[in-house]
Amino acid sequence: MEMFDLSLIWAVIIAFGVIMYVLMDGFDLGLGILFPFAPDEDARDVMMNSVAPVWDGNETWLVLGGAGLIGAFPLVYSILLPAMYIGVFLMLAGLIFRGVAFEFRFKSRRTRNWWNAAFAGGSFVAAFAQGAVVGAYIEGFETADRVFTGGALDWLTPFSVITGLGLVAGYALLGATWLVLKSEGHVRDWARGLIPKLLVGVVVVFAVVSLWTPWIDPGVWERWFDHMQVIWLLPALALACVIGIYAANRKGRELMAFLLTLGMFIFTYLGLLVSRWPYVIPPDYTLWDAASAPESQFFLLIGVLFVVPIILTYTAWSYWVFRGKVRVGDGYH
């Protein structure tokens, strides 16, 4: 075991799990956020049908991430969750509501508006809470002796509200580019028209967060402006993706627009990771401080290395099976 840095391997696995979750649940949460603005009920049917076969597989990554985190980095788990206490509750409540709404909307007529509202509201709240976690994370946590010592609403700051709304806009963009890819006719036209507006929102938040972050933490300032200027490559790539999305959307290159949106998320995420590396609970604890015992990390690694490739294969297979456009009137009985 001495040959490998298990904690480093686990950091990569967890980081991978998080971005998988963000990308995959991101577009189905995004559809929920766009739900109230849909032109008609047909469009909502198409939206839901486009993700119905895959959405609960997407949430597997969240549960796996939560369980993997306590197994590999218990310190992160036991500081982050108390620090985000109310936010975690809101996120879970949101996910539960939208999960149930998913099931029952297909089966209801008279009460359909209620399930529409639950789906949209749950998606918005969950997305906002996740975005606020990112903001709170950038700002750092008040800790002493390996426990969180701050207050219940410390996480709710002007900065985290902006990152929360930013993620809502980002997920909505993911949802819109996904919907363009998966729909046709008036639904696709509507989604295409949304993309430029959502891009403006994303870019504004992106700019505000980028300008604000170095002021919050001198460590980030130092890293950005002194000895690691290669970091600038990542936000530059993210911005290039934004421009690419706009152009691809105009030309009707649907798959390209969606892939570039994924790229935008990935580069932003990498930028965030590199700015903070190797701190997992800023500003005090690195990933090695936060790690569980090597025996536990190793025991867990066996199971995860075995199952993650299977999950990936299965996921890829189910997206393949459900490939192609969803038409109005398609769907579930």
Binding site: I96, F106, V147, E295, S296
Partner: protein, 473 residues
């Protein structure tokens, strides 16, 4: 009055766990039953088993979906409310919870889809195999959860270094002293739950004269099973109790309402335990009963709560009465199983209205018994979260305030109330729809694809509004 974050966190955890647990305890038993039905179909070729299998699969799909949705919260509870516990015990708890997720994923990814949607796409034998694997999968999930819980009751295979638990033997830790008893007790509870729900629903159909032949079969076979399982559960529960006596004597003292360590302890049927008095105010009991059960000797010495400080004693009221609720319901289950045997003569078992009505009511009994049993085992270990190692006060999240816990507790209650009401309402609709027509030309189009569990039940949630097109369902 100051809000106590510890008490509220315990209430919150108890609420979330109890609410979530009723779904898996049902699906574990039901999955096995479905596997039996599909197995019978494969071996006899009789369509009636397949029709019953399809009906119960739909019920399974809805309950499983509810379990999945309500279970998301669990993975986060340890961190939000019990972060010191999470940090101390993560080296063991973390891998256990992760393995549970991993095995649950296997079950979902591999076989649930085939069970729910593969009826007309794979051969009956393959379909039976998928049902069997789903049943096995539910037990593997339960295995990890019960290993974790049992370890918290009877920790083993670990050492503490710098205040953190390190696993020295995974085998000792997983197969700890109370695990075999707890797992068997829980597995039987799951079978009993599935069994009593099946008999209750079958009775409901028989009383209404719907699909009588099929539900007669279901009722009969399940009653045979219960005749065997209900007494077996009493035996296993007794063994579990002896194990608890050995490892958690104060839990037994609270269950028996026994304040003083002495011989010839009666088995109390009724009592009013009084913490201030350190005795029961009223007692009605069977002389020497507890000594006889626990020591197999009327003169046997049974430990009492006087062995520990008052502050360390579990809440006797809750433990004492929850235990009696569980045992009383267990005895009632045995009584119904035996009554079923007696009524078989002349086929009265299918006609006796009081018996069928009673079975309908009994379908709720195992749920109450399971929750009561968990209350016994969880409150009885008080004040320990990890027995003898970590108490509640040291396990709680330090930054937590009573107000925060109250806020989220009320929030969870509200969220779960909504989904529970919607879920049970929908479940009743699915059951009311009954067995599908006996033909195998069930329509399948390219869009009827494996997806979310609940989409296996094609039953409308509410009645159509007139102004909506009927084809958009």
């Amino acid at each position: 009055m100051a809000l106590d974050p510890i008490l509220l966190s315990r209430l919150q955890f108890a609420f979330v766990v109890s609410f979530h647990a009723i779904f898996p305890v049902f699906t574990i038993g039901l999955a096995s039953y479905i596997a039996v039905l599909q197995g019978l179909y494969v071996s006899t070729g009789n369509r009636v088993w397949d029709r019953l299998g399809l009906f119960w699969t739909k019920v399974f799909a809805v309950v499983f979906g509810m379990g999945v949705v309500s279970g998301i919260v669990m993975a986060f509870q340890f961190g939000t409310n019990w972060s010191n516990f999470a940090q101390m015990a993560a080296n063991f708890i973390g891998p256990m919870l992760s393995y549970e997720v991993v095995t649950a994923f296997f079950l979902e990814a591999g076989f649930l889809g085939v069970l729910l949607f593969g009826r007309h796409r794979v051969s009956p034998a393959v379909h039976f195999f998928a049902a069997l694997m789903v049943a096995v999968g539910t037990f593997i999930s339960a295995f990890w959860i019960l290993a974790t819980n049992s370890w918290m009751q009877t920790p083993d295979g670990y050492e503490i270094r710098e205040g953190v638990i390190h696993v020295t033997s995974w085998v000792d830790a997983i197969f700890n002293a109370s695990f075999p008893y707890r797992f068997t007790h829980m597995a039987l509870a799951a079978f009993l739950t599935g069994g009593f729900v099946v008999t209750g629903v079958s009775a409901w159909f028989l009383l209404r004269g719907r699909d009588v032949d099929a539900h007669k079969r279901a009722l009969s076979m399940t009653l045979w099973l219960l005749l065997f399982l209900a007494p077996l559960q009493a035996f296993v529960g007794d063994e579990h109790g002896l194990n608890t006596l050995e490892h958690q004597p104060m839990k037994i003292a609270a269950m028996e309402g026994n304040w003083e360590t002495e011989s010839n302890v009666p088995l109390l049927l009724f009592a009013l335990p009084d913490r201030d008095l350190q005795a029961n105010r009223v007692e009605i009991g069977i002389p020497n009963g507890a000594s006889l059960i626990l020591r197999h000797d009327p003169d046997g010495v049974v430990p009492g709560l006087d062995q520990i400080d008052r502050a360390q004693q579990p809440p006797v009221w809750i433990t004492f009465y929850s235990f009696r609720v569980m045992v009383a319901l267990g005895l009632l289950m045995i009584a119904f199983a035996v009554a079923g045997l007696v009524l078989r003569k002349g086929g009265r078992v299918y006609r006796s209205r009081w018996f069928l009505r009673g079975l309908q009511g009994m379908s709720l009994a195992p749920f109450v018994a399971v929750v009561a049993g968990w209350v016994v085992t969880e409150t009885g270990r008080s004040p320990w979260l990890i027995y003898g190692v970590l108490d509640y006060a040291d396990a709680i999240t330090p930054s937590l305030s009573g107000g925060m816990v109250l806020f989220t507790l009320l929030g969870y209650i509200a969220v779960y109330a909504v989904i529970f009401i919607a879920g049970v309402y929908y479940l009743c609709k699915v059951i009311n729809q009954g067995l599908d027509e006996d033909d195998d030309t069930e329509e399948l189009d390219s869009h009827d694809r494996p997806a979310r569990p609940m989409s296996a039940a094609h039953v409308p949630f509410d009645d159509a509004r007139d102004d909506r097109a009927p084809n958009r369902s």
